[in-house]
């Protein structure tokens, strides 16, 4: 069984990439692989906002992250990327605030790093 790290670089308005990283993550887990982290970087940090107001026919990305987090995946966001982009880092929902060093160490131990953008 392999160890994965996934990074997400697109903002939450990119619904297509958002649904794809969730499905990829679920496929990893269902095959018995480990996901050491999903890391929000660049515009991806905005996924950790808690202020979405979406119609019911829109991709419910918050609920999808919630569901993933309940499977014990480490959902992280890059704190410096977030601070520069105006994300409220004191209120990041299911994502935990992390430094780039922590992420780099997880990547160093992982078998595969897959970027989503």
């Amino acid at each position: 069984m392999a160890r994965f790290v996934l990074s997400l670089h697109t903002p939450p308005s990119d619904h297509d990439t958002s649904q794809r990283i969730i499905k990829f993550a679920n496929a990893c887990l269902s095959q018995g692989h480990t996901i050491d982290a999903i890391f929000l970087y660049q515009q991806g940090v905005y996924h950790a906002s808690t202020h979405f107001d979406l119609a019911s026919d829109e991709l419910q990305i918050g609920a999808l992250w919630q569901k993933l987090s309940s499977q014990n995946i480490n959902l992280m966001l890059c704190v410096t990327a977030a601070e520069k982009r105006g994300l409220d880092t004191s209120n990041t929902g299911v994502f935990s605030v992390a430094g780039l060093a922590e992420f780099a160490m997880l990547v160093s131990d992982a078998d595969k790093w897959v970027q989503f953008k």
């Binding site: 095959q31 595969k112 953008k117």
Partner: protein, 88 residues
């Protein structure tokens, strides 16, 4: 020992990248998202393109004979049998 090159947009989104010079003959090319619309444009990189089946289906795209449909499970497996991954 092959690299997996991953695209999610039509080729014009990547024009700066001189891709034709960075993709080896034995590398594999996987199309996701809106890249599935543009499989013809990617043929120059690989004879046998891999296409995420679900994304092609959503876009009402019928795959041609030298395009291999890939499930999410196969996508995961592909990353493990590739020595490098590049998400362009």
């Amino acid at each position: 020992m092959s690299t997996l090159h991953i695209f999610s947009k039509p080729l014009n989104y990547y024009s700066a990248n001189q891709l034709e010079n960075l993709i080896s003959l034995d590398d594999r090319v996987l199309l996701l998202g809106d890249a599935c619309f543009a499989s013809k444009q990617f043929k120059q990189f690989s004879d046998a393109l891999l296409v995420l089946e679900e994304d092609a289906h959503v876009r009402a795209i019928k795959l041609s004979h030298n395009e291999t449909p890939i499930s999410y499970d196969e996508f995961v497996a592909l990353t493990l049998t590739s020595t490098q991954l590049i998400t362009w």
